[in-house]
Point group: C2
Amino acid sequence: MTTSADGPRFQRLDADRRRAEILAAATAAFATRPYPAVSLTDVAQAAGVARGLINHYFGTKRDLYLEVVREASTVPSVAVEELPDGTVEERIDAAVAWYLDALQESGTTWIAAADPMVMGRDPELEAILTEAENITVDRVLDAVRLGDDPARRDLLRALVRTYGHLARSAAREWLLHETLTRPQVHVLLRRTLLAIVDDVVPEVLGG
Amino acid sequence: MTTSADGPRFQRLDADRRRAEILAAATAAFATRPYPAVSLTDVAQAAGVARGLINHYFGTKRDLYLEVVREASTVPSVAVEELPDGTVEERIDAAVAWYLDALQESGTTWIAAADPMVMGRDPELEAILTEAENITVDRVLDAVRLGDDPARRDLLRALVRTYGHLARSAAREWLLHETLTRPQVHVLLRRTLLAIVDDVVPEVLGG
DNA sequence: CACTCTTGTTGGCGCACCGCCAACAATGGC
DNA sequence: GCCATTGTTGGCGGTGCGCCAACAAGAGTG
């Protein structure tokens, strides 16, 4: 006879635990590689599990992906009752601080989750998009006559880049979802950019 | 013998033209379906072409996709010299108007391009993300004590939703790219949200 | 007008991966 | 020690991609 005592050929776990392990492996995979580059074979191997088991627990690959996003995009349940009762300014300041704290603690996971481009980072795709982004950004800086000092240029670019996301998002609300009208978007974009130019830039550079 | 005069079995085009036709078909496909749901077979059929030809012109499927994004994300080359020489406020106003004009004309194509989630809309995925989004948005409205009136609630939500994109984008600059520091992000988020609450909301509701 | 050379175009082979399912094995109850 | 339960496996069928050798349409040439 051959050497016995080989032990069980596979470890038997209760459904919840196994599911969690697979989900963890899947999250790690989808967080680093873009969707098409993730193979269920890889995920299964990383989870130490047969390929078919993934289908058994999650259904299709797409279902698994949606589950990963769903889990990662759930906001950390930090208590919000701690917000003070002061003026609007004070409450805003506290809320921003809370938000940044929450981000810093929970790592970069759920920033990524809310954005499939970051989720499963694709350097080449990112390069293409930021390329187009920078063109628009420089155009804006030009229009506002603000990017003269090269030392401040990078900082300004970063600020305007974030503004660009606000702008695009507003455009989506207007053109795609029709939850905002054009005049409303106009006001929003004008006042926020003005706030950045008049308030944010001086405070950031002067501080 | 069978009926002759079948004509040429396929039409012969110069490289540029054929390439453009395939790219058009691919753009249409990627614009409506998410990446994995787009098969090169479909694109080839839509372009009236053999599957292999796509590979010949664009290489891999991913390469084709990148090309589509690259083309779609190039900003329409509208002249920007028309911007007036007035105050900062006037220039901002003109720039915003120009931006909205450009969007309205060029359709929704390139808003989508800059955002792979919109490019190739995926309703289910979208639902998951906006779900998580709305939770955060309501939390913010709560913190600022602003969402009392149900009639105004939807409008406020839309505004804060766009602000959320600014916030996430700023967080990315801070945590992922390290192009902004935490204090800088803090100032940005505080002042822009304040501008929305103090300036945008009154003007939008009062106007 | 035949012949050839160039080049756009095709069709299918090989491979990887997904979705599914029947057989199997590990644990708990009788 | 046998059986029921259920977590787990391995492989079969199908689909889609990447590649390449053969082919055909048109232009040039004598």
